[in-house]
């Protein structure tokens, strides 16, 4: 690939990344915006499914006990339009996720920020519940 083509493609990538990713559901029926969570762990699964993609993360507490948490992302359509794919994250990647916990008290949350621990890269930007 020549240099000009690379610059053009990078520009296209940035335009796509700038598209807003919007949530699908009635956020407040499922999640409590006041119940904040920030958890770090290894990804066990990424479900690239409608109406929302989900990532599952094994989180260790201070005693070493592991609990699996599920984090809701935007729809695959919205994520794809922003340039993300089901290969953007793989099992074993360690991530820190911030978001709002499910109202039902389960180990589920809506992910607002997903950061790869080793690189600091922010993934799936725009999964927050804006409609």
């Amino acid at each position: 690939m020549n240099f000009k083509a690379a610059v053009v493609l990078l520009g296209v990538g940035s335009l796509l990344a700038g598209r807003p990713v919007v949530a699908h559901h009635a956020f407040s029926a499922e999640f409590d915006a006041e119940k904040r969570v920030k958890l770090t762990g290894a990804v066990t699964r990424l479900d690239w499914t409608n109406p929302h993609a989900w990532i599952y993360v094994d989180v260790k507490d201070e005693t070493g006990k592991v609990a699996t948490w599920g984090f809701e992302l935007a729809s695959p359509n919205g994520l794809m339009r922003s340039g993300w794919t089901r290969f953007s994250l793989k099992p074993g990647d360690v991530v820190t996720v911030e978001g709002a916990r499910a109202k039902n008290g389960s180990n589920s949350a809506n992910a607002e920020v997903v950061i790869v621990a080793s690189t600091g890269q922010k993934l799936f930007a725009g999964s927050a519940p804006a409609q």
């Binding site: 990538g13 940035s14 335009l15 989900w54 794809m80 290969f87 953007s88 039902n104």
Partner: protein, 280 residues
């Protein structure tokens, strides 16, 4: 500063802020898009026309995210509706009948929102959903395919009249017929299901649950003002739910970069009922 250093640094910053190149959704720009002097789509070019001379509404459209303060629209123009609240542009709100105002309060928990339940949305929810919709204008009918929640509307333009109320089974999308008045497609619809079925998801005009009923007579004026812009003036005439008819405007923008509709099978991994305690 060295030119190559500058270019490389800019490219590195852009790369760091962007998803990987391999992650990009492929673009398939359509032929016939008018271009400006720099080769970019000229969205203010004239609207295309079909072979029979009518404006061609065909294309993939995204809602405009433009908003305006209530009551601030120019004189004579309907206020803008929003996905969350079709009455957002009215200072005094929507003219609800008393039971309809009570129903909006009950719906505030969002549990019966058709959008969340993966059921068909109301006509204005479809027009204003953040997902795209594709208009396919054919000689005797116009189809609107909504990416969200399985939406497919047929607006018959073959000269037929609306069926009598109650003759076909009530439709989620209503029954629609259209005619051209100069450059405006006038679509009229009746025979909606509506909120009085008491079925979850029925009769939501917007995200907060402003209702419509089986008495809704919907009139939509579609006007493609130029290549890039579609305006839809929507009149809600539903005496069961509202004390008077009202009209709102929807603005949509053409998708000209070659991105396309994407399959959206909403029930694939529906977690809404589980997270709201209504399914194991």
């Amino acid at each position: 500063m060295n030119r190559w250093f500058t270019v490389t640094a800019v490219a590195a910053i852009v790369a760091a802020l962007s998803p990987s190149l391999s992650a990009q959704w492929p673009l398939h720009p359509q032929p016939g898009i008018p271009k400006g002097p720099e080769g970019k789509p000229n969205l203010s070019a004239l609207a295309p026309r079909t072979s029979d001379g009518q404006p061609d509404l065909s294309g993939i459209w995204m809602r405009s995210i433009r908003t305006e303060a209530p009551g601030s629209q120019p004189p004579g123009r309907p206020p803008l509706a929003t996905f969350a609240n079709v009455g957002a542009g009215f200072k005094e709100g929507l003219p609800f009948q008393p039971w309809a105002a009570e129903l909006v309060k009950k719906r505030a928990n969002g549990l019966d929102n058709p959008d969340a339940l993966c059921l068909p949305q109301g006509p204005l929810e479809y027009h204003l959903d953040p997902q795209p919709r594709e208009v396919v204008q054919l000689p005797h009918k116009t189809l609107i395919i909504y990416e969200s929640n399985y939406g497919l509307r047929t607006i018959y333009t073959d000269g037929r009249r609306l069926p009598p109320q109650g003759e076909p089974q009530p439709y989620w999308h209503g029954y629609s017929v259209g005619r051209w008045e100069r450059d405006t497609l006038v679509a009229e619809s009746n025979n909606f299901r509506g909120a009085l079925t008491d079925q979850p998801g029925d009769g939501w005009l917007d995200g907060r649950g402003s209702p419509f009923t089986d008495a809704l007579r919907l009139t939509e004026l579609f006007r493609r003002v130029n290549f890039g812009r579609l305006e839809i003036d929507v009149t809600i005439d539903d005496p069961k739910a509202y004390t008077r008819p009202f009209t709102v405007r929807v603005e949509q923008e053409i998708v000209a970069d070659g991105s396309e509709m994407i399959e959206f099978i909403c029930h694939e991994n529906q977690m809404f009922l589980k997270l709201t305690g209504r399914a194991p």
